[in-house]
Amino acid sequence: MDVLIALAMVAPMVAAAVAGIGGWRRWTATLTVLSCVAVLGAGVALAILTHGSSRIAFGDVLRADALSATMLIVVGVVGTLASWASIGYIDHELAHGHTDDREARRYGALIPAFVAVMALAVSANNIGVIWVAVEATTVIAAFLVGHRRTSTALEASWKYAVICSVGIAVAFLGTVLLYFAALHAGASAEQALDLDVLASHAAHLDPAVVRLAGGLLLIGYGAKAGLVPFHGWLADAHSQAPAPVSALMSGVLLSVAFSVLLRLRPIVDDAVGPGFLRAGLLVVGLATVLLAALLLTVTADLKRMLAHSSMENMGLIAVAAAAGTRLAIAALLLHVLGHGVGKTVLFLAGGQLQAAHHSTTIDDITAVLSRSRLVGGSFAVGLLAIVGLPPFALFASELGIARSLANSGLAWALGVVLVLMAVAFAALVSKTARILLGEPAAGAPPIGVPSTVAAALVAGVVASAALGVTSGPMAGLFATAAAQFGAG
């Protein structure tokens, strides 16, 4: 079991080292894909093996429980799809002279490093180590976002670096304050950052200090998850990064950052009572959904539209976490998984559109469905999955979230969220219709799809459909996680 947990991190690190030394080759890139499959496999195996309990490994540094297994599965699936598509993407870029060997080598090494650090962030038992991992993703992603050497990409990576660094620094302060409170509640100095030790001492932590720490952690990790008020980097970074990187960020990074909040929630709740984080998450979540819905109505750029949709979903997840019941947590996790896969498909398809048109303005791109069955079709499927239509997974998760909100006395929040989601739905569908439908214009460029990207798109579509129809095996996993982190 310990080996499995370590495998999830070691495999991508090895792939990163190999890619860094070997440069961008077919076999190093394929190794990256295989390492992400290994992460997925480790997640699945852990899910089967943990069933109900948590397990600490490697001297209190790593842990395996239902939540970490779920997140590893998310990381694995999205990582596999994204790294698979990266092969075609980078080959295309190299062939057309948009990038050179050195950049490709750096890209090839950074992607598996990113995956490895994400795996560490979800498997660590020590909140300090979690922080280090999340900070490392900021550093790695700053380079990945600026991969295309355009002025807008540089602007996006600068904003990303500055805003996320400030956010993560605030999160570190929150971590330090939590450590301080734990020391004064009797935990020993070496162990006071361990999640299990914190959980056992939670009732004795000083409420005022923990309130301060909880607020800082919410804002800090919320910055990485794209929640208000540090959300400014999201649209820029997602729109300027290469499509596989956007997929990784939307599908994985945001959810991993939020999962850290989920882990910290029981500790803060035990110390100051459930009302504090509930109110905080509710305010932040509703503000994020509101802002995202408004931005969705005015945006004119394809990838920014997808980024705002990610923001909206993260806000919805925050609202669900505010509700905090078992149903809410289980629905939340399903939502994370379904959103991750669906958004990956959307971004990959969108990347192909960008490669064909050399622009992502919605008005420039029309009649995709009649020009390329594959790209158009997968974009359509992805969109249907994201807006929450049955039979896709997000339908079930949104239903679950709605029910849990109603059950925990947050019916007013439910009303607000439904209205905003309807607004977002309308905006998304109308813009996507403009992209997909209609007669092709005379000089429309052909939409080429490299084979690996095509394979990734198809796999993603299949996975979305499968998730929607058969979330049965996952239900047990989600229920276990929910039992650990939800209440009532």
């Binding site: 300090g128 900070e135 550093v139 050497r149 540089l154 330090v176 200090v209």
Partner: protein, 220 residues
């Protein structure tokens, strides 16, 4: 080292942190700001050294020396290199608010930090914790400095000050988080500053200067 002397030295170190924070907001020349950052790093490193001498803990003293090397020498040097690459006339970190207003806001932020830190001091009223509000004030002032600066290296300097503040708060409250985390955190900060340096270089090559108020192409 007797109690009053220990408390006085800690207070002086915390005060140096606070005064350097005010100077960073006040001053306009980038080289002067980076020199102040180096002094700030030295004041930060003094804190574990003072505590280590008081408790006879050589590990703390070693941490202090390492911090001195990192925060007072290496990181300011990296930033100075980024500044050195600028043309002569562009080494000013302009701010979007004038000096008087920004100083008054910094004063307000200090008072806010002192109020916010009350529960911390109440929980553990030792000499070290009493100085923790200075660290929190440094954090708030550094975030403010990052917000108002228009030069890329100026923002990076603000980030470094922010990090100094967090490290100071951690050291004052708890004599440092466990070594593993401290190591990881320091490495991450190093890499973050390197990222800033690289991005600044690219900004300069792309735009000709590093005025971040030029970065306004991405919008809805």
């Amino acid at each position: 080292m007797t109690d009053p002397v220990y408390a006085t030295l800690l207070d002086l170190a915390a005060g140096a942190l606070l005064v350097s924070a005010v100077l960073i907001v006040w001053m306009r020349g980038l080289t002067a700001i980076i020199r102040t950052l180096a002094l700030q790093g030295a004041a930060l490193a003094a804190i574990p050294v003072i505590s280590g001498v008081r408790q006879g803990d050589s590990a703390l003293i070693a941490v202090g020396v390492a911090l001195l090397m990192l925060r007072a020498v290496i990181l300011p040097w990296l930033l100075a290199r980024a500044v050195g690459a600028e043309r002569e006339g562009r080494r000013d970190a302009e701010a979007s608010i004038n000096a008087t207003a920004s100083l008054l806001i910094a004063g307000g932020l200090t008072v806010a930090a002192l109020v916010v830190a009350q529960p911390l001091v109440a929980l553990s009223p030792t000499a070290a914790t009493n100085a923790a509000p200075a660290g929190i004030a440094l954090i708030l002032i550094a975030i403010f400095a990052m917000v108002i600066r228009r030069h890329a290296v100026g923002q990076a300097a603000g980030f470094l000050a922010l990090d100094n503040g967090i490290a100071a708060t951690a050291l004052l409250l708890t004599a440092g988080v466990p070594l593993l985390v401290e190591l990881g955190a320091s490495l991450d900060i190093l890499f973050a500053v390197l990222v800033f340096g690289v991005l600044t270089e690219r900004l300069r090559r792309m735009f000709g200067d590093t005025d971040v108020s030029r970065l306004r192409e991405l919008r809805d």
